[in-house]
């Protein structure tokens, strides 16, 4: 039998359909792989019994000839941000200690309804606040990739969906859910050499997804191939009457978009994404090279301007903490999770929240509280919301000229857990510089591996950003990048084969 962990999801679906192997076998292979790679710390909870039970049910459906889902029998990793009924969910925060949701998030439910098999909950930055997966209460995640100049260096996988990215990259699941508020899917996808997609805001339901910043949070996919992304996105997207901000429009069959044909497509290269400083030269090189390859494949490369780009980060770092400060007020030690007692109600609140939240989360709550205060609200929060509209307008104008935008996903490749930059929150924020603008505009964006750094050998992801609900177009372009990049779509087996 083939080594099942090596397969892409599309290949596995074919194998399952041909009855070359069962979902139980496929699931077991991944559970074994997870056991071998625990030092990555990609999962915070493994659910092998539940997984095998679901796999068995899937096999039964198949053998009985019942209607099968789009992801029938496929083992997936679930970011710990998604509430899963009966399975502990904490958003990797101490404050949700022991919380077992009595309900299922719409995204995880959709995936289950499409036949997939959850293997466990993946590690993440606490409440999705981080760029490096260093803020998790359950510890850092290790990137399966190694820096060839310093192979012993503990590399971060990027954040906040770092556990999902590492798990997908290492073959600890065939695909995993991520969530993206300011780059939380695309940055780790880029750092771990996988495909990460944040669809249009409103494409996937936020019901049951633990909120960070409601106007930005969007569920997305992490896979090893663009085709797998298409399959997974189709499985989890869609209207949901439980979320007032989800868009009611049909979900297309995204795989059909993967024609490989980009002739005549206009691809914009934003000048502002190519600063003199702050962009790794290997990243720049891969970007330029890829643009050239796309031109050779028939696309038209167009220089564009997104002049307000530099204001995206400050805008984001006002809006997201403001919303978070309010979204995280519910963690008060009364209904669920951690409680640290106190003599009075307020003392109990304060003790609980002080002990329950990590440093970065507390920092953002304080900042978010500050910018909503009288005296700051107008100049900070409201101002940011105005700039947000300007940023959206610039994208609107750009999409009058081009079909998609090609940009780096991150200014750097994966860095070390103990690098100096990880100590300075402001510097860490700069890693979001290329992902945040499209988050603010609610646009779909995919990070696809496009090459390796010549210096370190680490993967570099490029971002294809589309207009609203143009997921199909960016998938098509990403598919071409995938095929011209010459990068491996096979997992990096850290535990050996």
């Amino acid at each position: 039998m083939t080594d099942l962990v090596e397969l892409t999801m599309a290949e596995a679906l074919e194998g399952l359909a041909k009855k070359e192997f069962t979902s139980v076998e496929l699931t077991q292979a991944h559970l074994d792989e997870m056991a071998k790679a625990r030092d990555l710390n990609a999962y915070v909870i493994e659910t092998p019994e539940l997984a095998l039970e679901r796999a068995k049910r899937s096999d039964n459906r198949r053998s009985k000839g019942e209607k099968l889902g789009l992801m029938e029998g496929i083992p997936v990793g679930m970011k710990d941000l998604y509430c899963t009924k009966g399975v502990r969910t904490t958003a990797c925060s101490h404050i949700l200690d022991g919380f077992v949701p009595p309900y299922e998030s719409t995204v995880s439910l959709n995936l289950e309804n499409q036949g997939s098999v959850m293997l466990g909950k993946t590690n993440m930055d606490e409440f999705a606040m981080g760029t490096a997966n260093l803020t998790s209460y359950y510890g850092a995640v290790r990137n399966p990739y190694k820096d060839k100049t310093n192979p012993n260096k503990f590399l971060i996988p990027g954040g906040s969906s770092g556990g999902s990215a590492a798990a997908v990259a290492a073959g600890l699941c065939m695909c995993a859910t991520g969530s993206d508020t300011g780059g939380s899917i695309r940055t780790p996808a880029s750092f771990c050499g996988i495909v990460g997609m944040k669809p249009t805001y409103g494409r996937c339901s936020r019901y049951g997804m633990i909120a960070f910043a409601s106007s930005l949070d969007q569920a997305g996919t992490m896979t090893r191939t663009v085709r797998d992304t298409a399959i997974m996105l189709e499985s989890m997207a869609g209207y949901d009457p439980k979320d007032s901000t989800v868009v009611n429009r049909p979900v297309p069959c995204y795989q059909k978009a993967l024609t490989g044909d980009i002739k005549g497509l206009k691809i914009g290269i934003p000048r502002e994404y190519n600063p003199d400083k702050g962009l790794n030269s290997d990243v720049r090189h891969v970007w330029e090279q890829t643009a050239e390859k796309l031109r050779q494949a028939g696309a038209e490369i167009v220089d564009i301007n997104l002049p307000s780009t530099q204001y995206a980060l400050p805008t984001y770092y006002l809006i997201a903490p403001a919303e978070a400060s309010s979204n995280l007020a519910r963690y008060d030690g009364v209904k669920y999770g951690l409680r640290v007692d106190g003599k009075s109600l307020d003392e109990m609140y304060t003790n609980t929240r002080t002990a329950g939240f990590g440093k970065e989360v507390k920092r953002r709550i304080m900042i978010g509280t500050c910018v909503l205060l009288e005296g700051y609200y107008e100049t900070c929060y409201l101002k940011a919301q105005k700039v947000r509209r300007l940023l959206c307008k610039e994208f609107d104008d750009a999409y009058k000229k081009v079909d998609v935008i090609l940009a780096p996903a991150a200014p750097e490749t994966a860095f070390g857990k103990d690098d100096d930059s990880t100590k300075d929150p402001l510097k860490m924020q700069l890693y979001d510089v290329f992902t945040v603008p499209s988050s603010l505009a609610g646009l779909p964006a995919i990070s696809v591996p496009a090459g390796y750094s010549e210096t370190t050998g680490l993967p570099i992801g490029l971002q294809v950003i589309g207009n609203k609900f143009c997921e199909e177009t960016i998938l098509r372009v990403a598919g071409v990048i995938e095929s011209v990049s010459g990068m491996s779509i096979r997992p990096l087996r850290v535990g050996g084969k």
Partner: protein
């Protein structure tokens, strides 16, 4: 006639604005599908949305929106086609999300007014700044345990309409009249049951004082007063307190106070938040609420006739005095009873019987008008019997009591009990003759100038007729006979 507090430094007028919270009548909560029923076991009317669970999201209940629109129409206000929900952030054990979803600068309803009638016959127009939708909080109980409070979230998330008046109220009486009129309007519309004692309608009063013509003084807010009478008392007390304070050279502090109904005083409340700043911002889980023309039109069509319009109609169509009409329309059920009883009958007389005998009876029996033992048809018929002379108004008292006791129609009662008025001149003359013959000495006294004895004769003859003699005829005939 204005309400003035005479102080040592001159006259003071009071300025009051009221914020009234009305619990909206709907089956489900404002943003969840959990029920709103009263009196259920703790935490059984709660969804994960209401309890602020992670990842839970609000979806608005359309019925609550329509109730707000209709109430807005009842307040002669502007229905805003676009309104926005905002979060009011603060911590308390009855607030599971750490914020209340409310509306800030874009409420669903703005700029209205209601006219209120005062006892002296004057009408005052009280402006309404806004009506907005928001979530109610849960309940805390403190008596179950020595060191803990118990939290019940059954009310958490129930829709409230907060109705904010302009500071147009100038006396406790006006405040009472405003609240009664407001209660009457929401009850007519069916958007709130208006029961202050059960907490489905709650009132906060902003009170300040000033010398007439001066700019507004610093106000104190008296929270959560739970009856109209208490609101009036609280305002009266608070205004006096402020005047005394100011005249002693003190300053009014902008603060929250509570009313102690036993002592009849207001006192400073311990502040919930040491440094209050609610940090309102638009709720990113919800987008603006845009009202379709269809929804607004539907609400308009469903609007009942409101008390003020009904009152005007009663004055015009039935010729009732304004004050009486006001009394009758205060409650929808009374107005309906009146209309049913007055239809085709002497409406003025019907109104008098309702406000007199019927109210007294219902009061005694502890019944509502809907449970009235006397049907409106029977009351109307009784008035007919009086007017056509079948019974006298004296006998009507008895007939009314029989109707109360036996529930029969007045015709049946008159027939069975033989209460028909005697209008036959010869029959009455016979009774008078008997009385005169039996009391020659009294007749002599009368004829010698003791006119007052006429009353005695009326009483005796009426008694002899068992009350059935037509009083007017009896009077005339008696005078004639006594004159000799």
């Amino acid at each position: 006639m204005s309400y003035i507090i005479k102080g040592e430094t001159g006259d003071w007028e009071i300025v009051v604005g009221l914020e009234v919270h009305c619990e909206v009548i709907s089956k489900a909560k404002l943003f969840s599908g959990a029920p709103t029923a009263f009196g259920a076991e703790a935490n059984t009317q709660v969804s994960f949305v209401d309890a602020g669970f992670p990842g839970m999201l609000p979806v608005i209940n359309h019925e609550c929106v329509e109730q707000a629109i209709k109430t807005g129409m009842g307040l002669n206000a502007t229905v805003n086609k676009k309104s926005i929900f905002a979060r009011k952030n603060y911590y308390y054990a009855d607030l599971p999300n750490g914020y209340q979803i409310s509306q800030s600068d874009k409420p669903i309803i703005s700029d209205g007014y209601i006219d209120v009638d005062l006892e002296n016959g004057e009408t005052r127009r009280i402006g309404i700044e806004r009506l907005h939708l928001e979530q109610d909080a849960g309940k805390l109980m403190h008596d179950q345990h020595p060191s803990k409070s118990f939290v019940d979230l059954n009310r958490a998330g129930v829709a409230l309409m907060e109705i904010v008046s302009r500071p147009d109220i100038r006396s406790p009486e006006e405040a009472g009249a405003y609240l009664r009129e407001l209660r009457s309007i929401v009850r007519y519309i069916g958007s709130c049951d208006g029961n202050m004692d059960e907490g489905s309608m709650r009132c906060d009063a902003n009170v300040s004082v000033r010398h007439p013509g001066d700019p507004l003084g610093t106000r104190a807010e008296i929270k959560n007063v739970n009856s109209i009478r208490f609101v009036m008392q609280a305002i009266e007390y608070e205004a006096k307190r402020q005047v005394e304070l100011l005249e002693e050279g003190g300053k009014v502090v902008q603060e929250t106070r509570k009313f102690d109904s036993v002592k009849g005083i207001t006192k400073t409340m311990r502040s919930k938040e040491t440094a209050v700043d609610y940090r309102y911002f638009y709720d990113p889980d919800l987008i603006p609420l845009r009202l379709s023309d269809e929804t607004i039109e539907k609400c308009r069509k469903e609007m009942p006739e409101l008390p003020s319009a009904k009152k005007n109609r009663f004055v015009k169509d039935f010729g009732l005095p304004a004050y009486d009409a006001g009394q009758l329309v205060a409650e929808k059920e009374i107005a309906e009873y009146f209309e049913a009883a007055a239809k085709g009958h002497d409406a003025k007389k019907v109104a008098n019987y309702i406000m007199g005998d019927l109210f007294a009876t219902l009061n005694k029996l502890g019944k509502s008008i809907k449970e009235s033992p006397v049907s409106p048809e029977n009351l109307g018929r009784m008035v007919d019997l009086i007017n056509d002379g079948t019974i006298s108004s004296r006998i009507a008292k008895d007939v009314f009591q029989f109707m109360v006791d036996e529930g029969k129609s007045p015709d049946q009662i008159v027939e069975e009990k033989g209460l028909k008025q005697v209008t036959d001149t010869s029959a009455i003359e016979k009774i008078i003759d008997d009385v005169i013959n039996e009391n020659p000495d009294k007749v002599a006294e009368y004829r010698s100038g003791k006119d007052k004895l006429l009353g005695w004769f009326v009483g005796q003859t009426m008694k002899a007729s068992k009350g059935k003699a037509n009083p007017g005829m009896l009077n005339d005939l008696l005078k004639k006979k006594l004159a000799g």
